[in-house]
Symmetry: C2
Subunit: 314 residues, 2 copies
């Protein structure tokens, strides 16, 4: 019979440094073409607005293959429900039998997205950032910050979000989690004072304009995981010395990089996959003055790797 | 929390006449463009050979949407495991929350495939078939026969399979289930004596040749559910007065009809979707002398409808 695991069991089975290592290996394998990742399945809903992504694939020869279903319904908080949900199915690559159902309520997606943000910071941000800037105040904005200490020492944080109240709540919660957090007056202050900026919103229009980009900055954008969403002006990519994407195929179809391509701010040859940078770190940041950007849309290999870790650690 | 249902609960929740009715409604809605069915997700494995299909979609405005994962690993019987497996996930269309996990072990796929076979027979076979011919001796070959009495009265059956032993076992089991079953000497005898033929094999080369097709026959082929598989010679479609497919888009990409199209035996305008025939029965068989063929590749709307019935009947 299947093993059915609930969220607490799943959380207990994972430790962040191992997740980061497994995801690094996964990104490298993906960029080397060693992972079978078909195009993302997608269903969109209009009333109420929502979406469902199906990410699936395998490393051929591994023990398992993975199918992840994630939903986002952005009016759920009005009903007292989380906006994200989902689950992960693990099957045997030898028999096709279901091996486990991970009822993670979308947490594994949040965790592997946060881990990818940490990996981007590890290879692309300054070794010693002055201050972390977080754009957004939701679950992913929290998890991005929580995972950064696994790769950098900085604990000084500035947050900005559209709602002052939620920014203040973020400040309180993240202060309790061990960070020194201030609320930025606006995005301009955040960009002026922070050199490691992470954007984690559901924005559909750019939040971070080209004009606020300064030498030395690294920007990770994780919000634009589907058509219509974007967080960065196209010029941010033009300004950047290094433009990293988690997946060339996904980020040319959607994600912030796709807008920059369509608007002619950059050409596709400027984009480097994160897995190539991990496998070859000199493709990452080489000095403190460079500007770097990472567009992370979320690749099935992350789901494969984190689900495999859960099963291995049981 | 999610409702997690196991096979026995799922079987108890369904009754075949209601399944047939719900699938008929689903096919009609699908052919009228009222169902959102994205392309089937697919993973293929080489060693051991196997595949995984992800079928998903929704009727916009319904309560649920459905994601079905089905696997087929054809060497599993050597390990004492069934070759097919899978499960069905049901989510709310209003919130994206998982509503139920149906641990059906692939049975719902078998059942909705058998129900579609019965529907094809209802609209396309002679009103009073002389004898049913079953090609194949596996699970689906059994279920196709088991579902036919819901639409026709005939109980006289001839079976043919590559393995004499398994054909004999089929005869015994189906005799115990209330049919009068003989084992055919070869496919020629089966086609000569039967006018309602159902092919349910994993064949990759045609089993039923054009030369054996006679006036009055109806042939349903359900085995070719993915690339590389086929059961019917292209000429079977050329001989047929009425060529029905469950999905024009799927059956032009794979399935028996796709081979007939590629080999130039028929043009696409000859194909009619099953949902159109159900909605407009004069498109089906009009007299006993006609030759009819149905190529069923399995459409997500079947999974949506049968999963919805399970939840409604709990």
């Amino acid at each position: 019979m299947n093993r059915i695991l609930v969220l607490e069991q799943i959380k207990r089975a994972l430790n962040p440094p191992r997740v980061i290592r497994a995801l690094e290996e996964g990104f490298v394998a993906y960029s080397e073409g060693r992972v079978n990742v078909p195009p993302v399945g997608q269903l969109n809903f209009e009333d109420p607005p929502g979406d469902c992504h199906i990410k699936y694939g395998c490393v051929p020869g591994d023990e398992y293959f993975v199918v992840k279903v994630a939903t986002g319904f952005y009016r759920n908080p009005d009903l007292g429900l989380p906006s994200s949900n989902g689950l992960v199915l693990v099957f045997s690559q030898k028999t096709g039998q279901p091996e486990a159902i991970l009822l993670d309520e979308g947490w594994l997606t949040d965790a592997r997205t946060a881990a990818a943000g940490a990996i981007a910071a590890k290879y692309l941000a300054r070794k010693k950032p002055v201050q972390i800037g977080i754009v957004g105040t939701g679950t992913q904005a929290r998890m991005q910050l929580e995972w950064l200490p696994h790769v950098i020492d900085c604990r000084d944080v500035m947050v900005w979000g559209r709602s002052k109240t939620r920014a203040e709540q973020y400040r309180k919660d993240m202060t309790a989690a061990g960070f020194v957090v201030r609320v930025a007056a606006d995005i301009a202050q955040l960009c002026a004072e922070c050199d490691l900026v992470v954007s984690a919103t559901a924005a559909r229009r750019p939040i971070i304009p080209e004009a606020l980009i300064r030498p030395g900055m690294h920007i990770t954008a994780v919000g634009a995981d589907g058509g219509g969403k974007r967080e960065l002006e196209a010029g941010v990519f033009k300004r950047a010395d290094i433009c990293v994407v988690d997946s060339l195929s996904q980020c040319s179809a959607y994600g912030d990089a796709s807008w920059a391509l369509r608007e002619g701010a950059i050409s596709e040859v400027r984009l480097i996959e994160l897995g190539r940078v991990i496998g070859n770190p000199e493709l990452g940041r080489r000095h403190d003055g460079q500007i770097t950007v990472a567009d992370l849309t979320g690749v099935a290999v992350q789901d494969i790797q984190i689900a495999r870790l859960v099963l291995e650690n049981l």
